[in-house]
């Protein structure tokens, strides 16, 4: 099994505050990996070290290594902008660009890499919207405002926008936290499909979601990695007491 991402003692700081403490993990390619833990456990921060978004936060810096396909993404000479086109990210709240049409939203990440012909862009937009299972709902109004879509549609639009530049890895930061059950279900089904082409790391505070969608699960607590393993094992026979307490709902 190919390892897509490997982290080696990643410590992430905001100024002097340590949010993530020495987390070493391996994420296999074409799998869904869930990060769980109570609020403030550092799971989002850890996720943001994987595409170098953490360093965009005020005071954000890290020590340790993050390897993507064996290459250190923090090595000097690595262009963070190019990296982020390989490691896409979807956020908790849907963030369609309000001044752009549906089409332009999806094309945004492709256009930034250089000029494309209209037909090439159309192809990419259609492919991405199909991958995000949104095509049938929006194909007749591609040039309308993205704000007219429902919350769940907006989130799938953001996923399509992230998929358009064909990243290798998809990072999702609580992507269904602001959606209704129906929207949540659609996104979860979508993750199952996307797994064949992408490596997915999803942060969720919903344990059932982690159990439903992921192949491996990592439990983080107070910035440290407590337990990591195949989802089934972690949820049925956790080896750590804290993990067991958390997944059985005794804290967090």
């Amino acid at each position: 099994m190919t390892i897509r991402i490997e982290t080696d003692r990643v410590t992430a700081m905001y100024g002097k505050f340590t949010a993530v403490k020495g987390v070493s993990l391996r994420f296999a390619a074409n799998r869904v990996h869930a990060l769980i833990g109570p609020s403030g456990c550092g799971k989002s921060t850890f996720l943001r070290t994987l595409n170098r978004m953490h360093e965009m936060s005020p005071g954000g810096w890290i020590t340790g290594q993050v390897l993507l396909d064996g290459q250190d993404i923090y090595a000097p000479g690595v262009n963070a902008m190019h990296l982020r086109r390989r490691v896409g990210m979807v956020f908790q709240k849907p963030t369609p660009f309000p001044t752009m049409s549906i089409f332009d939203n999806v094309a945004a990440g492709v256009r930034v890499t250089g000029r494309r012909s209209r037909s090439e862009l159309s192809e990419i937009v259609e492919r991405s919207l199909r991958q995000a299972v949104l095509w049938d709902e929006v194909k007749d109004r591609l040039h309308r405002s993205a704000l007219a879509l429902s919350g769940g549609q907006q989130q799938r639009l953001c996923i399509a926008r992230t998929l358009a530049p064909q990243p290798e890895v998809l990072l999702l930061d609580e992507p269904t936290a602001s959606l209704d059950p129906r929207g949540t279900q659609l996104i979860e089904e979508l993750l199952f499909e996307l797994r064949t082409n992408f490596t997915i790391v999803i942060v969720t505070h919903n344990l059932h979601q982690a159990a439903r969608v992921s192949d491996t699960t990592t439990f983080l607590y107070l910035g440290t990695m407590v337990e990591h393993g195949p989802t089934k094992e972690l949820f049925t026979t956790p080896t750590n007491e804290q993990t067991e307490a958390y997944i059985t709902g005794r804290f967090g």
Binding site: M53, M81, H82, G88, F91, T95, T99, V112, S145
Partner: protein
């Protein structure tokens, strides 16, 4: 309680109604096509118009925008993008002080800088004075409007691999644009009605002129000259000019309102 607040509203609205009413009663009668097209009549003669002042106001305010908008918007973007830097804090402080500065002081400064040195009044000296009034207003509005754009939008753009400058220009600034346009129009409406900064700079002119290095007419100056003049005829023209001026300002304010309304159309 409601009665007290409602009467406060009435008292607040009465002056506006009164101003408009007086201007319409005293000025509307003098408005006709010639009034908008013709230049001033020689002293003592009846008739004549403010066409030269309308053109003058457009030129002076237009040039003030050309000078003021790039600096105001640029400084606003900087202050919003790098909020903690010394330059941004200083710039914000200066802008706050400047917006409290009496406009006549700005006029005097422009006079000392440009008119006194060159030895003659000029339209562009007036534009510089108005631009100085405009910059702090535009800067603060731009900054506030950019700050209103959710941080998540900027992050989304950065996560797509946008360079920072491009995220700012194509996502953040474009989202903030309606608000910036509104603020700009309000600033234009405000400076279009300023008299004091033009008194020692653009000075005023009886005739049509497009030469920006010479004195030029402007609507507020015409009101001032006619209203303080000795002739009955001038007083009549002053009322009519004041009405034109307030219509110009109201139209700009309404345009600003419309620009705001288009914000967040279907959210």
């Amino acid at each position: 309680m409601v009665v007290v607040l409602a009467s406060a509203v009435v008292v607040a609205v009465v002056p506006l109604v009164f101003i408009l009413g007086t201007l319409i009663i005293k000025g509307a009668g003098s408005l006709n096509a010639m009034f908008f097209v013709a230049a001033a009549a020689p002293a003592g003669q009846t008739g004549g118009g403010v066409g030269h002042a309308i053109v003058g106001t457009l030129v002076i305010v237009g040039m003030a925008c050309l000078i003021g908008l790039p600096f105001g918007i640029g400084a606003g973007i900087y202050a919003a993008e790098y909020p903690g830097t010394r330059l941004a804090v200083g710039c914000r402080f200066v802008a706050d002080v400047m917006s409290g500065t009496p406009s006549i002081v700005v006029g005097v400064v422009a006079w000392a800088w440009i008119v006194a040195r060159q030895g003659h009044f000029s339209a562009y000296a007036g534009s510089v004075a108005l631009a100085m009034l405009m910059i702090p207003m535009v800067m603060r509005t731009t900054e506030e409007m950019i700050k209103l754009v959710p941080h998540s939008l900027r992050e989304a753009a950065l996560a797509l691999g946008y360079p920072r400058w491009r995220a700012t220009l194509t996502v953040v600034l474009r989202t903030a644009l309606p608000g910036i346009v509104t603020g700009t129009l309000l600033a234009v409406a405000r400076i279009a009605g300023e008299t004091a900064p033009l008194l020692f700079t653009a000075l005023g002119n009886q005739y049509f002129s497009l030469d920006v290095s010479r004195p030029m007419a402007a609507l507020p100056l015409v009101v001032f000259t006619y209203a303080t003049g000795p002739y009955q005829e001038w007083h009549r023209l002053a009322w009519a000019t004041a009405l034109v001026l307030i219509i110009v300002v109201l139209v700009l304010s309404l345009a600003a309102r419309l620009a705001t309304r288009q914000r967040y159309p279907r959210s």
